[in-house]
């Protein structure tokens, strides 16, 4: 059974990755794709590493906490957690099931919740506002559906990556 990781990047995207490791070879599965990543070690430059992704070499550096890939792409891990293995749950379900979770993209305080449990929401509809640095950020629905659960109350402080509510 592979390990399942939940990885949030700095802009609040969630990636659910199923990982099987054999030495320096990693087989990483997402809902629709598989990535064979092999760690090859040091690159030609100081502080550079090389990984092969599906047979293609990629150069990796780190700058200010950001991963710089091939000098042209940036990626930052904000939070990474290992999913507790669930009895009987199929891998596909684990990879798929989380897309309705609305996570907080920043640290702040919930000021206004515009929906309640059981509401039908459209994609892009404003769900709630989070105040940070005296300014309000509106969180909108990532997909259409029914609000299954609201995890926060107005006035509550939230951290980046916290699950605010769940849409099904």
């Amino acid at each position: 059974m592979p390990k399942v990781y939940r990885l949030y990047n700095d802009v609040g995207d969630l990636f659910t990755l199923a990982v099987e490791t054999k030495g320096d070879k990693y087989e990483i599965k997402t809902e629709n794709n598989t990535y064979e990543v092999e760690f090859k070690g040091r690159g030609t430059k100081e502080w550079e590493s090389v990984v092969m992704v599906n047979g293609r070499p990629r150069r990796v550096e780190v700058d200010q906490g950001y991963l710089i890939i091939d000098g042209s792409e940036v990626f930052r891990i904000d939070r990474l957690s290992e999913e507790a293995p669930k009895e009987g749950a199929a891998l596909e379900e684990l990879l798929k099931g989380k897309e309705g979770e609305v996570v907080s993209p920043l640290q702040g305080r919930v000021v206004q919740i515009r929906v309640k449990e059981g509401d039908a929401v459209n994609k892009g509809q404003p769900l709630l506002s989070i105040e940070a640095m005296k300014s309000e950020t509106v969180i909108s629905a990532p997909k259409a559906g029914i609000v299954k659960k609201v995890n926060v109350k107005p006035g509550q402080g939230v951290r980046k990556g916290d699950v605010l509510l769940i849409i099904e």
Binding site: V11, W47, L67, F75, G124, M133
Partner: protein
Amino acid sequence: MPPFGKVLVANRGEIAVRVMKAMKEMGMKTVAVYSEADKYALHVKYADEAYYIGPAPAIQSYLNIDAIVDAALKAHADAVHPGYGFLSENADFAEAVEKAGLTFIGPSAEVMNKIKSKLDGKRYAKMAGVPISPGSDAPVESLDEALKLAERIGYPIMVKAAFGGGGTGITKVNSPEELKEVWERNKRLAQQAFGKSDLYIEKAAVEPRHIEFQLIGDRYGSYVVAWERECTIQRRNQKLIEEAPSVALSMEERRSMFEPIIKFGQLMGYFTLGTFETVFSDKTREFYFLELNKRLQVEHTVTELIFRIDLVKLQTRLAAGEHLPFTQEELDKRYRGHAIQYRINAEDPLNNFTGSSGFVTYYREPSGPGVRVDTGYVEGNWVPPYYDSLIAKLIVYAENRAEAIRVGLRALNDYKIGGVKTIIDLHKWISMDEDFQKGKFTTAYIAEKTPQFLRDLKRWEEERAAIALVAYNKGLLKRKVEAQAGGKGVENAWKTQGKLMQMAPRVMW
């Protein structure tokens, strides 16, 4: 001699900074205005003086005519540049600025009042001989009338709000059933958004491209047309990529538009910069006039590069009453090469282009031959959710289009932004797309390509996450990076903090 001593820029973000750069080069002082949300913004830092004009929502700040005119008077400014968007085409604002004894850098209120709605523009176009699409000349009063008219000109048709702008209030309709459905809803929406519910209809162009012409005029009746810009790559009527010149036009087709457009300008007594938006069909080789934009455009940069002129400086000089410095013939001779502008928006292309607000925590800008970046943000700035999502414009220039796309791709690869989502990946995808490279596209390009680029962009993101996971597993992210030769390496952060504290000037409270 600079035409003015001090100019207030009534805008924010990249355009405010871009205008200020021109003002500084002309030897004038610059004044910024800012809302609560923009206290620490780049345009405020960059200006010589800055005045607070109100809370974050635009209606209380950047659209607040009284507050802006007050700031201009307080700063003893001689002129006001409105940028684009916000109050740039507001006749009341132009009038208020003129009444306060300052110069409005743009057309006068009187000229603006001549074209209040898109229908007024159509009327002038008809008089000047600018081709317009078949449809109504006046607001269509009722659904019955609309259905009859639509039957006569033939579907598909466009239903437009006469007072709409910025690409909103436009719906394409393919059948009478759809028209019935759309009519009441659009009337209501137009009333809400623009305060007037007038709608009109016109024939939709076949496989249209969006091509606009740059009109430049002085107060003395001289005009030139600085060719066209192709702005066909759009999503929801919002432009993403603009280029000059257009791949689709021959010199004869281009030149055939100059005379009617100049006539249009003469009829209106128009001066400074104006943009004629048209749709052009590859099939029928016909232009249809859409509207006249009475301001500097976001995409003015591509025209600047191919003619090697500075439109903001020119606009300012013309507003001050100077003469047009070149004739059409002289301008035509200045043309060289090809320019492309990529709008760097803080938006999520994977999520229907919803805006992404937040702090810019990583920012590396491209530079080098053929690359220009007009930015409103640097590392550490906050992208507020209140205004439009344009962070910066990346403009590339080369001797021909194919080369310009290669420069573009290189510059996009060099452009790295963290903390907010951007459409840089999408621009890379488009630049590598064969149809784009061949110049084969219509305004439906983004909509048609969506399934393809969604799949690829998603894969790119996932691949990065997979690499990041491996890098994390291998401890690459935790590894301390040694300082370069000569340094003693990274010190204890507390030690550094202590030293910095001692070096910093003491403030006695």
